[in-house]
Amino acid sequence: MSCVVHLRNLRYAYPDGRAALRGVNLQIEHGERVAVLGPNGAGKTTLMLHLNGLLSGEGELEVGGADRETLHELRRRVGVVFQDPDDQLFMPTVREDVAFGPLNLGLARAEIGERVDEALGQVRMLHAAPRAPYQLSMGERRRVAIATVLAMRPQVLVLDEPSASLDPRARRELLGILDGIDRTMLLTTHDLPFAAELCERAVILDAGRIVADRPTLELLGDAELLARHDLELPAGFDLARIAPPARVAA
């Protein structure tokens, strides 16, 4: 199996000098789903912004052969879904928003139409194509935000806190949709059960470093490790009742 995401000693400090990433090493293979867990302020969002070249720190970063020298390629390969869908959906209608990325890729109109329909179909939001983003519920907006990225057919899908502010039903629907998407996936979250159901591998990012990297169920079973990094499973949560994500990496 080959590596699609390759990070080596990635470092980043904010303009005020505060270090956000202090040497992150991470290799992700094709088809893998990896959860990046960590408390608030651990550097999860900063890491995510690096994958897409939106922030540029020191160290090695390569995704599917593209690096920061080939920014356009990097953005084509990595699709980032932001935490607040209102940040991501800025066009007047859902259809135009999903077409925004493919249009920037300079694709032919026929193919753009095809991709928009396919992406909206994947998140079961085809019916909402002519609607305006503000007319949608939070769960629907999140799904459309995912479609805007899927339409670019990225190699790697990066999601920032995908289950944040969703009600149980919307969360369950999202889980089903993400599970049906066959792609390398990296998601940052502190919804540990969500990570357990979707990702076979999890890493803990704390104070700008990866401090643990194991199969998700094994990592979540280590209560002491979780506590050390300000993470915990919901009270009474039984890991044994989660079927391990039995995915065969492509």
Partner: protein, 256 residues
């Protein structure tokens, strides 16, 4: 909050969305209705019948679009008083012609004429804009402006303003809720300080959101140009509409 929502309800398309006017190219509607405004506003008061002509054209467009007069009035009502406020003092100041005593005030004929002309022009301009907004979606107007060579930056700012107006109104509603939940009931001007802080918080939040939206745009390959999904196409009907409006008013305006 109720006020904000009410104001937002007054925007957007009204009338029959399938009417011939609604289906015109947005550029034709922008050009046609701007022509009515320019002709109306540039007409001196001695040529007052032109005002009537403009009103007739607007009425015909409204009828073809099946926008009810009540709807037009409700929308125009928001803007008109502000415009008319400028002119109400003119009859007191501008002297000339017959003077009318009205209690302690003296109104002058010349001033009244100016006020009349101003009212007519304001009504024509406002109704043109209201009709454009009632028959054309906001995004379509933006695309028309862009294609009519309005600087792209203005169009982008106006588009984003409309998109995020709803988000900001929601946020403002939540903040007002938070104030009310802690028994904030301003009764005196001194109680206004928290509102200033709300305004500051809104500004900072909006600024932060602007940054995040820009990142999200870059993440999907934005390179400074807004891509266009379906190019606009001018048909004979669109050109016909502009020609008809101009032909109905311009000779009238130039002949008298």
């Amino acid at each position: 909050m109720a006020l904000c929502n009410h104001a937002l309800e007054l925007t957007g398309v009204a009338g029959d969305p399938e009417s011939p006017v609604h289906r015109l190219d947005p550029r034709a509607k922008v050009l046609g209705l701007v022509a009515v405004t320019v002709i109306g506003v540039s007409t001196p008061v001695r040529l007052w019948p032109v005002y009537g002509g403009c009103a007739l054209v607007l009425a015909a467009v409204a009828a073809a679009a099946r926008v009810p007069a009540r709807q037009l009035w409700r929308r125009a009502r928001v803007v008109l008083p502000l415009v008319l406020l400028v002119g109400v003092f003119v009859p007191l100041v501008r002297t000339g012609g017959t003077a009318y005593e009205l209690g302690p005030l003296t109104l002058h004929e010349a001033g009244l004429t100016v006020l009349g002309a101003l009212a007519a022009k304001a009504t024509i301009g406002t109704l043109s804009a209201v009709l454009l907004a009632a028959t054309t979606s906001y995004p379509a107007i933006m695309r028309a402006l862009e294609s009519l060579r309005v600087p792209r930056l203005f169009v982008l700012i106006a588009s984003f303003m409309h998109r995020y107006l709803f988000v900001i109104v929601e946020e403002l509603g939540r903040m007002r809720g938070a104030l009310a939940a802690r028994a904030y009931r301003p009764r005196h001007v001194r109680d206004a300080a928290p509102l200033g802080r709300v305004a500051t918080a809104m500004f900072l939040r909006t600024y932060g959101r602007g940054e995040r939206v820009y990142l999200a745009m870059l993440a999907r390959g934005y390179d400074g140009r807004m891509p266009e999904l379906e190019p606009l196409r001018l048909r004979a009907a669109d050109l016909g509409f502009v020609a008809l409006v101009v032909a109905a008013l311009l000779p009238f305006r130039l002949a008298i």
